[in-house]
């Protein structure tokens, strides 16, 4: 590092404004932190710096922040939060690209556990409800899987990269207690499994799970989901494809009754 950078290092600081909450039932409050600037710092590395020196901007000792994180490579889906009002992953939020003071808040549509950590288990429950898996006879050796074209693989792979961060649900106006909407991530998984040669065998059950209250019909086509997705998953395409399938299924079911 050259001398110029070093001087810059010692004088520049970064300002954070962080929403805190001690427990699910307690009152939220804000704390401010001023940290020494470092090259390539991101929101998680800043939270780590606070843990190593938990003192607010006013010099008041405080507790380290509770937040979810794991891989820090934007692939585990843990560290989603609101950063300057936007739902995104904290590990890939580079401080130099953010306006200051950097405001951190927990996702607003999920119950707060503490500080920036929220409970997102609803997504995993939704995945259970739509049977987001391939039905296997067993794990013993039954030979190779179905052949698949490069094109099919190239369509499936992006859908399979969903990291369950729940950003798409956070930004969806329809995802709330009132509608019980399952959200884009789950619908996109239905598309993934329904287009797999073996997964397709349970297509009917998955589509049925998406009918009725909280199902795909709740989508209001705001298209916020596809904008917010950190993995650029074609969520609106998934919703329209699955929506069409659900409709066809509903009509067929009606005439078979």
């Amino acid at each position: 590092m050259n001398r110029e950078l070093r001087t810059e290092n010692s004088t520049r600081t970064v300002l954070f404004k962080i929403k805190r909450q001690a427990s699910p039932g307690s009152q939220a409050y804000w704390e401010e932190f001023e940290l020494p600037w470092k090259r390539h710092m991101n929101v998680i590395s800043s939270l780590m710096d606070i843990a190593a020196n938990p003192v607010t901007r006013e010099g008041k000792p405080t507790t380290p922040l509770t937040y979810d994180s794991n891989c820090l490579e934007e692939v585990c889906g843990s560290c989603a939060m609101l950063i300057n009002g936007r739902a995104r992953m904290a590990c890939s939020a580079l401080v130099d690209n953010l306006e200051q003071p950097i405001r951190l808040e927990p996702l607003s549509k999920f119950p707060v556990v503490r500080d920036l950590a929220v409970d997102r288990s609803v997504l995993f429950e939704n995945l259970k409800a739509v049977k987001a898996w391939i039905p296997l006879d067993g794990t013993y050796d039954l030979g190779a899987g179905p052949r698949m074209s490069q094109k099919q693989q190239e369509e499936a792979y992006p859908l399979s990269r969903c990291i369950s961060c729940c950003c798409c649900m956070e930004v969806c106006p329809q995802f709330n207690e009132h509608t019980g909407f399952v959200g884009a991530a789950t619908i996109s998984q239905v598309r993934l499994f329904n287009t797999h040669p073996t997964g397709e065998m349970m297509k009917h059950e998955r589509l049925t799970a998406l009918m009725g209250d909280g199902g795909i019909q709740e989508c209001g086509y705001a298209q916020n989901c596809v904008e917010a997705c950190p993995k650029d998953i074609p969520l609106t395409r998934s919703i329209s494809d699955v929506g069409r399938e659900v409709m066809k299924q509903a009509v067929t079911d009606f005439f078979r009754r």
């Binding site: 020196n53 380290p64 979810d68």
Partner: protein, 598 residues
């Protein structure tokens, strides 16, 4: 009651190894309690990028399970016991088929078959891959199957729970575990007929590594302190190509080289030119020059030492910094997007440059532990009823792991541990339900007291700062190049840290989702385990695989073709070393060199 008719098995860890074990047990009618710090879908296995090895021989190269076995043993510098490695390589093609049936979106050939790429330490196209996020795709496939078993009632998940210790009965048999709810902070014991540990790596001991936050090695260390053998702890893999960062070292997969990536530095010191404007003749492709047969795909320890040498001995790091170029700019964009998109995206997001347009800057970073809990060929530790699988055990990789062998060893290890744990449970004379409750009560009490002690401690040491010191120390002295004097100083320093740990001060003394107390517990266990690494490295006076000592540059089979086995001496509060001969019954050890074909 004789044996457990409906055995209850506990699995700790929801990465590939843990989930593989869970699936096998659930499928055979056992019930599993699955514990994980994070929701299992967020486990560190998601970070694996490049692929999974299996000798499917779909490229007409004459590959075979034996070749895979030979490459693995040779790549591991003959330190691995050979029979289980052979079994793994033989099982690998079937594992790939199974994953394919589970719906893993592996890349395809034009004929619709699985595509394979080349990885380090082999001359064959043996690595199946799903873009450059293979670990993520494999983990998801297993996660989905476990969710199916969960919805059918054979699996109960305890997510956001941390393993603290095993519950041992009066005969030192494992009868369950003690764990803590990371939200309510409740400490509780859970009985089980058998327990499988699948808690992954130990990267946090080195401060910054390519590992995830949860990879602290805390569970392994706790078990080592309870009487489990820990083996080959001194073998730490430093990945040649990582992206240095403030919070971690992000991996740049070996698949970048598998798809044609070339490592180079400018021949001229402090060359300030834009890398693309430096003519071919003025670039030094040192791996290709030193290792013409394998080129950029030499094993990781070899590539790592080469980069170190070029940077520190030749002084040719880019712009005087510890960095070399990893160059993909000559590969066409469509191929890069189809096969490597996931990792190129990471580089773009975290560094801000597009690797399709400009060479990436990389440097070696701590990546993997070959060492781990000692297990036998059935994945059983020396404590009856306690099994281990995945990176947390030592069995498959010897002195250096080959790229794309970790995923296969995790799944194979889990597939072996699961049924063996179940068989053990069924053969028990007395199931866990019949064990005297006092063993559970006393273990719980011991753990509650540790928490209380930490909460009451009012010294001046911040656990997160102490951890940073440990990480810097271990990275400096216990990674690429090792000297006895520095290793001894390291151990002394760790003892000092353990002393300072007694004066820890938690900034958070609340009883809800308190990350400080959890971290302090992990830190203590990291400190104990780091002594195993430092002392093991100091004792082993030879160079083998990832363990390199300039003062002892040669492999010494006469004295050191041995597994390091460490037990904890509670009275002395320190590691006790013994050495076990390696089972080399299938392939006689031969010199390992990559400047020519084997």
């Amino acid at each position: 009651m004789a044996g457990a008719s409906n055995p209850k098995i506990i699995v700790i860890g929801g990465g590939l190894a843990g989930l593989s074990a869970v699936i096998k047990i659930a499928e055979k009618g056992g019930h599993v309690d699955l514990f994980s710090i994070v929701p299992v879908k967020r486990s560190h296995s998601v970070c694996a990028q490049g692929g999974i090895n299996a000798a499917k021989n779909l490229k007409g190269e004459g590959d075979s399970a034996w070749q895979h076995f030979d490459d693995t043993v040779y790549g591991g510098d003959f330190l691995a016991n050979q029979p289980p490695v052979k079994s793994m390589c033989e099982a690998a093609p079937g594992i790939i088929d199974l994953l394919d049936r589970m719906g893993v979106p592996f890349n395809r050939t034009p004929e619709g078959l699985l595509d394979f790429r080349r990885f380090g330490g082999t001359l064959y196209h043996r690595t199946a891959f799903a873009g450059a996020t293979t670990g993520q795709q494999l983990l998801y496939a297993l996660d989905e199957q476990v969710r199916r078993h969960e919805s059918e009632g054979s699996v109960t998940k305890y997510e956001h729970w941390e393993f603290l210790s095993a519950v041992l009965d009066g005969k030192r048999v494992c009868r369950g575990i003690c764990a803590m709810d990371l939200r309510s902070m409740e400490v509780r014991t859970f009985p089980a007929d058998a327990v499988i540990i699948a808690t992954g790596g130990i990267g946090a001991i080195f401060g910054k590594s390519t590992n995830s936050v949860v990879c602290t090695g805390s569970a392994q260390s706790a078990l080592y302190q309870q009487g489990c053998y820990y083996a080959n702890g001194e073998f730490i893999q430093v990945h040649p190509t990582s992206i240095p960062g403030e919070d971690k070292l992000r991996l740049m997969s070996e698949s970048a080289r598998g798809e044609g990536g070339r490592v180079w530095v400018p021949k001229q010191k402090d060359d300030k030119r834009d890398p693309l404007s430096i003519p071919e003749l003025e670039r030094w492709y040192f791996l290709e020059e030193w290792y013409p047969k394998y080129g950029n795909l030499v094993p990781r320890d070899v590539a790592t030492r080469a980069i170190h040498k070029v940077v520190y001995e030749h002084g040719l790091g880019i712009d005087g910094q510890p960095a070399a170029y990893l160059d993909l700019t000559h590969v066409d964009r469509a191929t890069l997007d189809r096969k490597l998109e996931g990792i190129l995206e990471i580089y773009e997001k975290f560094v801000g440059d597009d690797p399709r347009e400009t060479p990436m800057k990389i440097f070696p970073g701590m990546h993997y532990t070959m060492g781990g809990l000692w297990v036998d060929f059935k994945q059983a530790t020396n404590i009856p009823g306690l099994f281990a699988a995945g990176e947390c055990e030592y069995q498959y990789h010897g002195a250096n792991r080959l790229g794309a062998n970790s995923l296969v060893s995790c799944i194979f290890g889990g597939f072996t541990a699961g049924p063996n744990a179940l068989a053990y449970a069924k053969g028990l004379a007395k199931s866990a339900a019949g064990v005297d409750s006092s063993h559970f009560d006393s273990e719980r009490k011991r753990q509650v007291e540790i928490n209380a002690g930490l909460m009451l401690s009012d010294g001046s040491e911040n656990p997160f700062r102490l951890w940073r010191e440990l990480g810097e120390l271990m990275t400096r002295n216990c990674t690429v190049i090792r000297y006895n004097k520095a290793l001894q100083e390291t151990d002394a320093k760790i003892c000092e840290f353990l002393e300072r740990f007694k004066h820890i001060n938690l900034s958070d003394k609340t009883n809800w989702a308190n990350t400080s107390v959890v971290f302090a517990r992990q830190l203590y266990n990291m400190l104990q385990l780091s002594r195993v690494i430092a002392q093991g490295a100091a004792l082993r006076n030879e160079s083998r695989g990832a363990h390199y000592k300039p003062d002892f540059p040669e492999r010494d089979d006469k004295n050191w073709l041995k597994t390091t086995k460490v037990s904890f001496a509670p009275d002395a509060d320190e590691p006790k070393f013994e050495f076990e001969p390696v089972d080399s019954s299938l392939i006689p050890p031969r010199p390992r060199r990559y400047d020519m074909a084997k």
